[in-house]
Amino acid sequence: MSRQWWAALVFVAALALLPLGASDYLLSALTLVFIAALVGIAWNLMMGFAGQLSLGHALYFGVGAYTVAILAERYGVTPWIGMGIAFAAGAAIALLIGALGFRFAVRGVYFALLTIAFAEFGRIVFEHWSFVGGTGGFYLKALSATNVPLISLRGGARFNYYALLVTLTFAWWLSVAVVRSAIGYRWRAIRDDEDAARALGVPAFRLKLLAVALSGGLTAIAGGWSGLIGGSLFPDSVLGMRLSIDFIVAPIVGGIGTLFGPILGAFIVVPLNEWSRELAQAAGINGLNLLIYGVLLMAVIIVAPQGGWPWIARRLGLVERVPCRPGEQARNGVAIAASDSTTGDTHGQTSGRTQGQTPSRAQGQTSDRATQ
């Protein structure tokens, strides 16, 4: 197994053992990190690999949350099925927006504005829709004494922690599998230059729709979990613009276009947000958390626009098999920061290779064919 799989295994194992000694509050705080990481991975599939910038992911999150909660509360549908339906709902809405946008070649910042418009449109519809409780909110009943977490998917902090850890690990594995498959390669071609990719036979329209649908579906599942754990849903809190913005910050701080970036970003951004909120609360200064969060955001994007993970990965020699290159102005105005390539470092000089010398395979099972 390559170093990446080892690092991933140790990371997940450590998280799995953590609850042995951690307090409930630490577990519920980490559960929030997992939810943010889950959405980060979903958003990153669409942005980091297929190059489609979405600023309305709260729409899928909210739809997922309401779907699972209403099915469980009003129709007694177990969340096991609820999550599947939520995935389908999120994917379907994402497909609608994607098809509309791609069919009419809405690209770059205009596509981002299209996603914002749909998300805000959805939020306002939910705020005036009595079936979902409107702004009055939708509430799950308290857990009865006979509640079985594995059936109702609702339990204490420990259950939520493990449930989210399992979901996150699955989503992470799925994203790795997809990105390293033919689909992932072709996504990156679309991301770098859609027209050139199409000339090479890449069915851009269909593949972009796949990315958008997968991203929407996974985000809906994260929403479903958030609804079950939170117990009370408000349109502004699960569908609001502030949420859509929070979702993109973690992957960008972590490093988009990489496989571990969104997770690292979530581990940085969510505790930071919570810490600054508590600091503001303790100091009694309202809005201090916004100030700290804003300053840090600007600092990160000015200092390390490729995000934290590429920088760290190089130090740990965990450079990902997915060869990508730090952000440059790509043709359609959306370029991607990405981790370092297999051999060269970020600034283009090939590392210690002279003409004619067979390329040294740094690591990992790249092609076994030796060149002449």
């Binding site: 033919a182 071609a189 990508c324 440059e328």
Partner: protein
């Protein structure tokens, strides 16, 4: 031999300016045809229309008997039409081998096969040693070679090359010409736009000449070079000898 590609009265207007007007010609299966003409003659626009990037204002294009004008580029590629871009468009965020693999994935979804095909092609065009470089690191000539390799990787029946020899050193140009001849021997039809007359004369069996968007002459290279209208369009009055 049947004609693999037919253009019938193909025209392209840009709000008043006629870039290509009423061009018709056939391309024989398995031949190497060169499309030449002074700058602004409409060569790249014609190319773009065949490759599906530009939709013609009038006329029709047929490939293997099927009408293809207006068909999306990716479907044309699946049908076997591969093209390179005059202004090279490497996939910046990816390595050289990944660039070629994207083309190879047009024929197979198995990554291993795609990777080995890509490496073979890179060797044939002489980029084997730079397989794991980032595409954005390459020099312009290398990027031209990459364009050719990517187009070949899609397993085309009709290969369209837009000035792939421009900027190549003679040794590299010869290598590419050997590759094209070998590919033609494997049954691939080649249509190339080229200014380097040495290449046109060496490998082209047919030559089509465009000027101001009109087809002014076609025939074997030796006939074209002495054709009065061609000379006049290129050099005005003075005749040139090979």
């Amino acid at each position: 031999m049947s004609a693999i590609l037919q253009l019938k009265g193909v025209t392209r207007r840009y709000s008043g300016l006629v870039a290509v007007s009423d061009v018709s010609f056939d391309i024989e299966q398995g031949s190497i045809t060169a499309l030449i003409g002074p700058n602004g003659a409409g060569k790249t626009t014609t190319f773009g229309m065949i490759a599906g990037a530009i939709s013609p204002s009038a006329g029709s294009i047929h490939y293997e008997g099927v009408r293809i004008d207006g068909v999306a580029p990716e479907r044309l590629c699946a049908m076997g039409i591969a093209r390179t871009f005059q202004i090279v468009r490497p996939l910046q965020g990816m390595s050289v081998i990944d660039n070629v693999m994207i083309g190879a994935l047009n024929r197979t979804s198995n990554l291993k096969i795609a990777r080995s095909n890509a490496l073979d092609l890179l060797d044939r065009v002489g980029l084997g040693t730079k397989a794991f470089e980032m595409a954005s690191n390459l020099t312009l000539p290398d990027r031209k070679l990459l364009e050719t390799a990517k187009a070949l990787a899609t397993g085309p029946k009709l290969l369209m090359l837009d000035e792939v020899m421009a900027g190549l050193r003679p040794a590299e140009a010869d290598r590419v010409m050997d590759v094209l001849s070998a590919v033609r021997a494997e049954g691939v039809t080649i249509l190339l736009i080229e200014h380097v007359m040495r290449v046109v004369m060496a490998i082209a069996q047919h030559v089509i000449v465009l000027n101001h968007g009109e087809l002014i002459a076609r025939g074997t290279p030796s006939a074209i070079v002495t054709h009065p209208r061609v000379i006049e369009s290129y050099l005005g009055t003075k005749a040139i000898h090979p």
